[in-house]
Symmetry: C2
Subunit: 321 residues, 2 copies
């Protein structure tokens, strides 16, 4: 929270006005001092996550409108809080802007970000601004909290646990596939890509009931994120291809390809393991059993009666494209 170029002063003051010093009770002091000051709920510990949203890496200006970039930027942070079963308390935005960028773009970006922030009751409590030497650079920090010792980790999966996923997978990758071909993709037809919903309610519910033994959000793709759980828990996994909930996209609501669901990133669904039975719907979101935790360290895919190794090859944003 230093080094604010004068040219961005109006931006900061705009944010300050729209956020005010209000917000949830956790925030004691927001934008306008060296640090933000936050009070945690009694008996809670703090969760912190940081995520870049870089032009040309995580978004493209000709593919993504400013509101979409802002919405997706905060989604990345809220989704990480959800994956721990936490409550989001406040967000911090470091934002570097190219000299030629219009104020309108910035305001629409903030509209998208603050719209989602409002929906989750999360004040924008601070950050940094700078002139960017290249494209638009954003880094979102979200602080949350969780009752002491109750955060749902990646390391808690045990042999015999069932593997579940919320919502559907592959919708975001399918939108990118389409955009790459030069076609347009509307926010309505590809809402999972343009307006993802961080699963904060579901995460909180699972943590509260003690139903999730391990949890992660599907930001890098199912195969990569499941590999993270396996690695941290020291277990293997078996996934049944036929059980994976494929996102329905486009005007015809066609199902995405299995590969997009297996390896596509940025879906911001929750992937978790559980020892017991889990309802088919939590907080209005479908929850689907897709496999089980097994011995060993390998991930296997069961498809049409055949078993093959499932390699982690999560989607690496737009690099190399």
């Amino acid at each position: 929270m230093a080094g604010v170029p004068l040219s961005e002063k109006s931006l900061i003051e705009g944010v300050r006005r729209s956020v005010g010093r209000a917000g949830r009770s956790a925030l004691r002091l927001g934008i306008g001092d060296d640090c933000a000051v936050l009070r945690l709920p009694m008996g809670h510990e703090a969760l912190i996550t940081t995520d870049f949203s870089l032009e040309g890496v995580h978004f493209r200006r000709n593919w993504h409108g400013p509101e979409v970039v802002g919405h997706r930027c905060l989604t990345r942070g809220l989704s990480d809080i959800a994956a721990m079963g936490g409550e989001p308390l406040a967000a911090f935005l470091s934002l570097a802007l190219p000299a030629k960028l219009s104020q309108k773009w910035v305001h629409r970006f903030l509209d998208g970000l603050l719209g989602l922030a409002k929906q989750f009751g999360v004040p924008l409590a601070g950050g940094d601004t700078a002139r960017s030497p290249g494209g638009i650079l954003a880094d979102i920090v979200v602080m949350g909290s969780v009752p002491k010792g109750r955060a749902v980790l990646r390391s808690g999966a045990r042999v015999g646990d069932a593997i579940y996923v919320t919502g559907s997978l592959g919708g975001s990758a399918a939108a990118i596939d389409r955009l790459r071909t030069g076609k347009r993709a509307s926010a309505r037809d590809y809402s999972q890509h343009f307006r993802p919903t961080p699963r904060v309610e579901v995460g909180r519910f699972l943590r509260d009931r003690g139903w999730a033994s391990a949890m992660i959000d599907v930001s890098d793709g199912l195969s990569t994120d499941l590999a993270h759980i396996c690695e941290e828990s020291g277990v293997g996994a078996e996934v049944e291809a036929g059980l994976i909930p494929l996102a329905a996209v486009g005007k015809q609501r066609r199902s995405v390809d299995l590969d997009d669901a297996l390896h596509g990133g940025d879906d911001y669904e929750l992937l978790f393991t559980s020892r017991g039975r889990v309802p088919a719907t939590i907080a209005g979101v479908a929850v689907t059993k897709i496999g089980r935790v097994v011995r060993g360290r390998k991930m296997l895919l069961l498809r049409a009666g055949r078993r093959s190794e499932l390699k982690a090859r999560g989607w690496q944003h737009f690099r190399g494209s």
Copy 2:
């Protein structure tokens, strides 16, 4: 904490090894999950600050060695914690690297950052990595804590308070002045620029004794940072030019120009106001009275018996140069 490109996996694992899961007792869970988990000391509230370090804006690779960039990157965050009178608990680094950058650069950068982190007992608890579309992009987040309601704000200055500054000013701007002319500047001769020391001990001491009514770190330059205190406190200020401690730089230890001390940024000293007398040295650091808080909203400079308005024109990093 998502979207780690595979090519940076070794980097993350390197950091993980060097940081481990150890660190201070505040850190319950570090790198390797969706969020870090931290426990605050009893009766404390959380402080959060985020600061960019962008190539071409905050540093230049031909001016600043990788260790210096890493050291200065974390200094920005620790200095903000110091300015609230806080205790730093953990740091988080979002780091985007160009494809062509050598692993050696990255390791030396981390050496500089982690060296300072170790000195202040601050574990690197998380962050994000990405491929940079342009130069090297770092965003440092530091979380700290302070006893509830005891953070030293910018808004507490009252008419009649004395104005103090730690250490000396202008040393960082003098180094930039020299580098701009194409000359070399060594870390030994310009230590304030290349190896600034965040004044964490002094800040903590001032907060503990209740001696500082308002405080800020001198990151944007004395004139700009004092203006922040005046603005937030609704007061004016009178500064005596002859009292400002000028940094001594170069082999001859010559004093910097007054302009560098008034408007040069990145000194990371503390600027604070106080109602009482303050010792000349705190935690081994010189503390100098440079003026007083007055009625009104203007800042005045007293120089050779003449009074002129002091305008906030803090140094804006390297922009436009």
